[in-house]
């Protein structure tokens, strides 16, 4: 203990300790400013992203609304109104065995 006190009382050690103190202080402030800035930026980014998601969701909802409107509109009556007619005498072709070969 006595040896440590003796060491501290030396001018050179004191200077080093003081320098370390100042450096730590500045580092602490710098880190504080850095982390605060990052936090604020991230918070703003997050808010912007939420807004963006909300806007995209709104767009999506509008598209889905349109989808359901169109779904109701496209039916057989609409097809007939456009001049489509029912297919008559539909013929189907069957193969009892697959024709493709390796």
């Amino acid at each position: 203990m006595t040896r440590i006190i003796e060491k501290v009382e030396k001018e050179e050690t004191r200077r080093k300790l003081f320098g370390l103190l100042i450096f730590s202080f500045i580092l602490m402030i710098a880190l504080y400013v850095y982390f605060m800035s990052v936090t604020v930026i991230k918070a703003i980014e997050r808010k912007n992203n939420i807004m963006l998601i909300q806007n995209l969701n709104s767009d999506n909802q509008l598209l889905e609304e349109s989808y359901f409107t169109i779904l109701n509109k496209f039916n057989k009556d609409y097809a007939y109104s456009l001049g489509f007619i029912d297919q008559k005498n539909t013929e189907f072709v069957f193969k009892s065995r697959p024709v493709a070969k390796r």
């Binding site: 808010k47 939420i50 969701n57 999506n60 609304e65 359901f68 779904l71 189907f92």
Partner: protein, 566 residues
């Protein structure tokens, strides 16, 4: 102490003093000079917004290609609120905002005159454009806050299945349908996305420490919106045509119990459920109502008797047009006798005397056993709320008449879903399967849970179902002179017409029409069930429900590209 050390100590002291001074100055600026500004901001954040924002999992429809379409979602917008004491010229404010949004004049002035009230909401659900227009007015005492609400983009589509969210006391909860059944999965915590950032960090830490296991997620329905839309449009036309009280339709995969469409008309728009006067519209009769189903029960009885080798399709009996049991006469629908007829004719002409004959061949004990094995009188345990069980207690009687009437669908009442699952056994090789309407639960933070089809039991032999399907295919091909026969597809179907009952008494002139059918007959992909309550101007289900069934079947064949089977 030496001079150098003193200087350094002074320097450190000055730095600390200046730093402290800067902090004090900033605090003075924030807490004294800008007190009102930040106080108001804080109030806006913690009182105004958070009460209007909520999160809830989405409910999706699933198309045949797996694409998900929202059936219920959360919509974001804005609300306009007043701070009455800050409004100076209320007439001017009203005139300005009335040009942009609809506000009830009387309501506006009532609210603006509450000078001691710190907060009054005057308009809701504004979009971004309206919000910007209001902001441009720059009116003192007018505030705009974000808000969110439950939104159903498909409006009436599958409304009875999805249900809606409503207030119960102060809580927004699912009130009917899937919203109610899966409320615990769907409801998120009322997180305000704009909440203070540090408060949120602390909140998240708290959540981690609490190890909260209740998970939020979305619900994927097995309902295909395209099929659902077609079914709804088709049955709506039928409802209008026959001025009936109600119509319902159900389409399932008979092998898995997967429900592809479930529709009820009339229905409601869940976005405006508060405007619905008749609250019985919120009920889903597919699971919450029981009916005497009429002649669609006959194929179940005939299948049971074939299964027990008591009859074959060629078995004959003599039809007098009536049968007397326990001093009561039971007639055919037209009170006419047809002489010697076989079982195919019993189905083709829906002969009540034939059904009684089959029940007598089967015996009361076996009859009751099969009815119970079909699942009638039991819950299907479908994933929809409010399911009730059918009433088959008359089969506990020792009176022959109870069994005789039950053989053609009277005196026993079941839910449409019970009946559908029982009849599906004719289509799927004899199995009773559990129906389901939720295909998947998508959890936010863990793997999705998919619903696996579940076979409950086998009630009929496979050969029996092939025989009855063959018989029902002939029934469909002969309905109304065969005009609905589809050339290259075998369709099995049967109609039913039953007199309606109220408080145990039969109602004159009021009938329930029922219809079921599946396609293709011997490897069915779809089973359709329809019912129509009290149609006007039509006596039999063959007339009222065969056309919509035919349309639905042709649509399904085309939409799912089902290959022909004959």
């Amino acid at each position: 102490m030496r001079d150098g050390s003193r200087t350094r100590i002074k320097l450190v002291g000055v730095i600390i003093f200046l730093f402290g001074l800067a902090l004090l100055g900033r605090l003075f600026y924030l807490q004294i000079i800008k007190h009102d500004y930040y106080s108001e901001k804080a109030n806006e954040q913690y009182i105004g917004k958070s009460s209007q924002m909520f999160e809830r999992g989405e409910i999706y429809f699933k198309k045949k290609d797996g694409q998900l379409i929202s059936g219920a979602t959360t919509k974001n917008g804005f609300l306009v609120a007043l701070i009455p004491k800050q409004i100076i010229d209320s007439e001017d404010v009203y005139n300005k905002i009335f040009k942009i949004i609809e506000v009830d004049k009387e309501d506006f002035f009532k609210k603006v005159n509450k000078k001691n009230d710190p907060y009054e909401e005057i308009a809701h659900r504004l979009n971004e454009d309206k919000k910007k227009e209001i902001e441009k007015l720059n009116i003192d005492g007018l505030r705009i806050y974000p808000e969110s609400w439950r939104y159903y983009p498909a409006k009436n589509l599958a409304a009875n299945v999805i249900g809606f969210v409503g207030f119960k006391d102060n809580d927004l909860l699912g009130r009917y349908g899937i919203e109610y059944q899966y409320d615990s999965v769907l409801k998120g915590e009322n997180n305000n996305k704009d909440i203070n950032f540090f408060a949120e960090i602390l909140s998240n830490i708290k959540k981690e420490l609490k190890n909260d296991e209740s998970e939020n997620g979305g619900i994927v329905l097995s309902i295909d919106p395209v099929v659902q839309s077609f079914l709804e449009n088709t049955i709506q036309k039928n409802l209008d045509k026959f001025k009936a009280e109600q119509i319902g339709g159900l389409i399932i995969d008979p092998k898995t119990g997967r429900i592809i469409a479930m529709a009820i008309k009339p229905d409601f728009d869940p976005n405006n459920y508060s405007k619905v006067k008749d609250q019985s519209l919120f009920i889903n009769p597919m699971v919450e109502s029981i009916f005497e189903m009429g002649s669609i029960v006959k194929p179940l009885i005939i299948a049971a008797a074939i299964d027990q080798n008591k009859i074959t399709p060629q078995t004959t009996y003599f039809d007098k047009g009536y049968v007397d049991i326990n001093s009561r006469r039971l007639n055919n629908f037209d009170k006419k006798g047809r002489g010697k007829v076989d079982m195919q004719e019993v189905l083709n002409q829906s002969l009540n005397t034939g059904a009684v004959f089959v029940e007598q061949q089967l015996g009361h004990e076996k009859f009751r056993e099969y009815i119970k094995n079909y699942g009638l009188g039991s819950k299907t345990n479908i994933d929809l709320p409010g399911e009730i069980v059918g009433k088959i207690s008359t089969l506990e009687s020792k009176r022959d008449i109870e069994f005789a009437t039950a053989s053609f669908g009277q005196n026993i009442a079941v839910t449409p879903i019970e009946m559908t699952m029982a009849l599906s056994s004719l289509a799927n090789g004899g199995f009773i399967v559990k129906p389901y309407i939720v295909d998947e639960i998508k959890y936010e933070n863990s793997d999705s849970v998919k619903t696996e089809p579940k076979i409950i039991k086998q009630v009929l032999k496979k050969e029996t179902t092939e025989t009855i399907s063959q018989m029902l295919s002939k029934v469909y091909d002969s309905i109304l002179g065969g005009q609905f026969k589809i050339d290259h597809y075998s369709v099995s179907a049967k109609t039913g017409t039953a007199q309606m009952t109220k408080n145990g008494k039969y109602l004159d002139g009021q009938y329930l029409h029922t219809f079921f059918g599946y396609v293709p007959s011997f490897d069915p992909k779809f089973f359709t069930f329809l019912f129509l309550i009290n149609p006007q101007g039509v006596r039999f289900a063959s007339v009222s429900l065969t056309p919509p069934f035919s349309d639905i079947t042709k649509f399904l064949i085309n939409y799912y590209e089902i290959p022909p089977d004959r």
